[in-house]
Each structure stands twice: as C-alpha cells, then as structure tokens.
C-alpha cells in the first residue's frame, strides 16, 4: 500500500472534517445524560418524532455500499440503476409502512427476531437472531475495510489509522447515547450527503453540457460497447430481453426478483432499518417513518447514480475520470476482448476530486466519510440490541435487572466494534472468505420475506412451518446457485459447484432468480408443514396477525395526513419518474 495518493487535503479541508466530528461527538455527549434505561439505549425510549426516524430509516441504509456502489452501477449500467429505487425500494417501503408496521410497533416487540418469537417460537427467533447478528458484524467490517482502502488510495492515509479512528469515534457516540445517538448522527449524515453531493451533480452536469450533453456523450459511449443508443439514459429500454439492456436481466426477473423478493425482504424484515421506525413516538409516527424516508429515497438516484454517469461521460477511450482496474502486478487489467477494465468503484470519488476545489473537497470527502461511519454505527446498534435481547436475555441470563441489560448493551457495543475491526482485517487478508460469507448471507436473507408475509397474513402458519420453511428456502437458494452460472464464468464462487443445469445472461439475473427460487420454496414448505402441524389458538395471535388485529382507524386524522393518502402520493410520484425516464 505504498501507492502515490491521488490528491492531498489542505488546512481548510481538514478544518471542515474536524468540525463535523466535533458535532458528531458532541451529540453523543449531550445524549449521555438522558440515556438511563435499557429502553433508552436500545429503543430510544420510543420517543422520537417521525421526521427524525424517517430520515434515519433512509440513512441507516446509506452506507458505503449505497454511495460508492450506486455511483459504480451508474457508470456501469446508466440510469437503469434507478430500478433499485423505483422498482426496488419504494414499493417495499410503502408496504412495510402500511401493512407491517402495525405488527412490529403494535406488538411491542423490541426487535424483529423478537416479533418472530411472539408470532412463532423460540427456534425461529434464534435462527434469525444469530444469522442477523453475524451479518451486522460482517457488514460493518466490510464498511471499515472499504473506507480504509479508499482513503489510503485517495489521500494516502494509513489503513490502520483510519480503521481505528473511525471505530473509536463510532464506539464513543454509540456507547454514550445508544440508539438515539446513532439515529441523530444518521440524520446529520443524511444532510451531509445531500449537501455534499448536490453541488457535485450540479458542477458535473455543468461540465458535460447539461442533461442534453450527458445524453449525447453516453449515446456515443453506448455505441462503442455495442448497446442500444439510449441504453444508459433510459431505464426501461431493451428490458423485454436480457440481451438488449446493460443489466442483462429481462423485465420479469427484475420485477419479481429485485422488486418483490429482494427489496421486500430487505426493507420489510431487516432489523437495521426497522429498528429506526420502532423508535418512533407513536403508532402513527412509526407508520409514517418509511413513507417519509421514501420521499428523499425516490430522488436519491439523482444524487448517487448521476455522478457515476457523469464520470463515465467524462471518460473517453483515452482514459479520463474512471481509472483502470489494476491487476496484482500493478498493470491495468484487460477483458476478453483486450479492452481495459475500468474500476467503477472509483467513479464517484474521482469525480469529487476532479470537480471540487479545496474547501468543497473537504465537505465532499467528509460526506463520504460520514456515510461509511453511519453504516458502521447502524450495524453496531442493531447488533447490540439483537445480542442483548434475543441471544443474551433469552438464552444466557433471563431475569437480570434492567441496569444489567443496559450494561450488557454497552459491553456489546464495545464487543461489536472489536469484532468489526477484526472482520475488516479478515476482509483485507482473505478476499475469498468474504465473498463466500456474502454468498451465504444472500442465501439466508432470500426466503425471509416469505416467512414474515405468511406469519402476518395467514394465521394458520405455525412455528414449525416457519422454521422449516426458512431452512428449506435457504437450501433452495444454495441449490439454485450451485446448479447455475452467469454467462462466461467458471464454476466456483459464482455458482455451478454442484453441476450446471442453466446459464444466466448476467450475474444480476442469477441473483434475482436465486431469490425467486428461495422465496417460492419457503412459501410452499411453510404452507405444507403448517397444514400438518397444530396451529396456535386465535387468542394468542391478537396483535400479531392481520386478520386478528384491529385495523388502525385514521378517522380523526385529516385526509391529507393519512398514511394511506401519503402512500398513494409516493407511489404516483414513483410511477411518474419511471415514465419520465422510460
């Protein structure tokens, strides 16, 4: 790691960065005194207003993966990347708000695994809690690793120092103020990202000659890659067949795999985001949380995907903003056709360095740093809650005092941070282990939404049905992956390790279909086993199942403030965006 850094910062940039951290730590310190019970620490005492939980709901997911990854996909696939928002996230966010939040918030469960315990049984909860806890540690480690590597490359910062310093800062404010501190900092980070990236898009569009200039340049770029002229600037062109769009997926796989299974699975069952809504101060606030998050989410493609597209437009055949990917020998990698492979992950950071003068550069890089750190903090707060309530309290020490669980929460925060640092170093040392783990987690997550949907909307679903449905869904995902391969890949981590029955046109298509198979397997097995086992009496399922729960009556709320009206407006705006970028 002795590369020459891409740029260096000046005093004003460091001053901007330092000022941000003063406020971050200040928030933790100010909240320390009001964090007295375990409910304060893990659930923010269920006392936060909806605009705060809403922006945190969005921001908890706005880690490195979002900002860097969406820029990379923007450079790779163009505006079609917005499908992750307009087909993926938004419908799922509306669904969780209207149909699932009443059970999460109304059941008074303290975590998503705890809902599974109330609805089904201990074994289903434990399966979910353990896989979720491992996943949070692993994601926060990946986030740290990516940050250390990126800032080493851009600014020449030492990897060890950036990992340790960021871990210490996250530890300090989560330890002091618990979930509230993490949520407050997530909201602060949301505004940093918005205000750091809006001028980037503005300057970027200015230098390519506006949207018209961008379209013209990307039409040229599409031609050199043999794609349809509008491939980068139209979201739905060529979606009837996998061969004619840059994603390599046909519309059915996209809508079902991404739009339905994967996105609903993430936004409706992932405790990391749901925890934010559960911290809201009332049922109506909890239901509004994902809807409030959906409004900026809908517009985020313009902030995070456009920089990647602009970077691509400014990169010609002779090179430009996006650098070449380097092989182990330090030479640029070439693809099968002998063309240089671009390192898309650097599209957004490089554009930032290219367009921002000192001063603004400090703001932009601070926004990037903020997104890495709040990604870590989100994972750490979800981890300490699941560890303390779903693993420690339910299996290790049942009837301890509240003070003891508060203490355990703080201890788990320290432990979670140490484990994340360890995961960051493992990621650096053994790239393959991380890829394998990522794959395993994809299998674990794929069937989750089926279990929750059946549990909430079909009262006949039993604990055994849920548990074995989940387990077989995970196996189904693994089998599907093991018997298929994306075009042009060799058997191994990419699939095909059990044999080869089918070849997909792209990795994305394979991923979406793995999710569809896992979901269907889980549904079928859960239904069959539920029908063969003893259901729980209706009286035990009140508040946990749709048909046995009183519907929220919004009669005394003015028409325009009703969650259902809000949701309809969000969906209409999303349809409109899809039509504009058809």
């Amino acid at each position: 790691m002795d590369l020459v850094p891409v740029t260096h910062l000046t005093a004003i940039d460091y001053a901007v960065m330092a000022m941000y951290f003063v406020f971050v730590l200040g928030i933790g310190f100010a909240l320390r005194r009001s964090t007295k019970s375990s409910s304060d620490f893990f659930q923010s005492g269920r006392s936060l207003p909806p605009w705060v939980t809403g922006l945190a709901f969005l921001s908890a997911n706005l880690g490195a993966q979002e900002v860097i990854g969406m820029g990379a996909s923007g450079a790779k696939y163009g505006i079609a990347t917005a499908h992750f928002y307009w087909i993926g996230a938004i419908p799922a966010m509306v669904f969780v708000a209207l149909f699932m939040m009443p059970f999460y918030y109304g059941s008074r469960a303290r975590s998503v695994p705890e809902y599974l315990k109330l609805r089904f049984d201990e074994k289903t909860r434990t399966l979910n809690a353990i896989s979720f806890a491992l996943m949070t540690i692993f994601s926060s480690g990946i986030s740290m690793y990516a940050m250390g590597k990126l800032f080493n490359l851009l600014l020449g910062w030492s990897f060890d120092v950036s990992v340790l310093v960021s871990a210490v800062i996250v530890l300090a404010y989560v330890f002091a103020g618990g979930l509230t501190s993490a949520i407050y900092n997530e909201v602060l980070q949301f505004f940093m990202i918005a205000f750091g990236f809006a001028p980037l898009v503005f300057l970027g569009l200015k230098s390519v000659g506006g949207w018209a200039g961008l379209t013209a340049r990307l039409t040229e770029a599409a031609a050199t890659k043999g794609l349809a002229p509008g491939a980068y600037t139209h979201a739905w062109q060529g979606m009837t067949s996998a061969a004619t769009n840059p994603l390599g997926v046909e519309w059915f796989g996209l809508v079902m795999g991404l739009g339905f299974v994967l996105s609903f699975g993430y936004w409706c069952t992932d405790f990391l985001v749901v925890q934010r809504a559960m911290a809201a101060d009332s049922m109506i606030a909890a239901r509004r949380t994902p809807l409030i998050a959906a409004v900026p989410k809908m517009l985020f493609p313009f902030l995070v995907i456009l920089p990647g597209m602009i970077a691509l437009a400014l990169t010609g055949a002779a090179g430009g903003i996006i650098p070449a990917k380097l092989g182990a020998n330090g030479q640029p990698l070439l693809d099968a056709a002998g063309k240089v492979v671009m390192d898309f992950d650097l599209a957004t950071p490089m554009l930032l360095i290219k367009l921002f003068p000192e001063g603004m550069l400090g703001l932009g890089l601070t926004a990037l740093l903020a997104s890495f750190m709040s990604g870590m903090a989100g994972n750490v707060t979800a981890f300490n809650t699941v560890w303390t309530y779903d693993i420690y309290q339910s299996h290790i020490k049942k009837n301890a005092s509240d003070e003891h669980y508060l203490w355990m929460g703080r201890a788990a925060t320290v432990g979670g941070n140490l484990l994340s640092i360890a995961a960051a170093y493992v990621a650096g040392a053994f790239n393959n282990i991380m890829e394998v783990l990522q794959l395993v987690f994809a299998f674990v997550n794929a069937p989750l939404f089926a279990t929750f949907a059946l549990g909430m909307f079909w009262k006949r679903t039993t604990g055994h049905g849920a548990f074995w449905g989940l387990a077989s869904g995970m196996s189904g995902a693994m089998l599907h992956h093991g018997f298929t391969l994306p075009n042009g890949s060799v058997p191994g981590i990419k699939g095909g390790f059990f044999g080869l029955l089918h070849t997909y046109p792209s990795e994305m298509a394979q991923t979406f279909w793995t999710a569809i198979v896992a979901f269907m397997t889980c549904v079928v097995v859960s239904i069959l086993i539920s029908l063969a086992t003893q259901p729980r009496p209706d009286s035990e399922l009140k508040g946990l199942v749709y048909s046995l729960t009183e519907k929220p009556q919004d009669r005394d709320i003015p028409f325009f403030k009703k969650p259902s009206v809000f949701a309809a407006a969000v969906l209409a705006a999303t349809v409109l965006l899809n039509i504009i970028f058809l």
Partner: protein
Amino acid sequence: MSAEGSLDLRLPIGGLFTVLGVMLAGYGLATGSNTEMYAKSAGININLIWGVVMIVTGAIFLMLAKRGAAAK
C-alpha cells in the same frame, strides 16, 4: 427518556451547517480572485455559493428549533 429532556436535533444540524457555511463562504471570499483554483469547478466559486446556501439552511434549522422551544 422524555422528549423534552433530550436534545432537539435541529440545533446541532443548524449549528453545524451555519459553521461550515461560514467557513466555506469565508474561504470562497478569500480565494475569489484565484481563477486557477476554480478552473476545476467550471469557473464557479463554488465555495462562496455553497457556503451561502449552507448558512441559509443552517439558519432555517436554528429558527425552527427556536420556534419549537418557544412552543413548549
């Protein structure tokens, strides 16, 4: 934790944005004549412009926080 006892989030957001805005706008004023430095940003003094935008945003948050406190 009661809502009154804790920190109003609009205060630190407003505070941070105002301080950062003043820093950037001040730096933009001081470097305004340096055309070479702003060649990167398409000839626009983005520090000054964005600094002012951030000051205004920060002030709005501080005002909302003050009104919220007065309403209690």
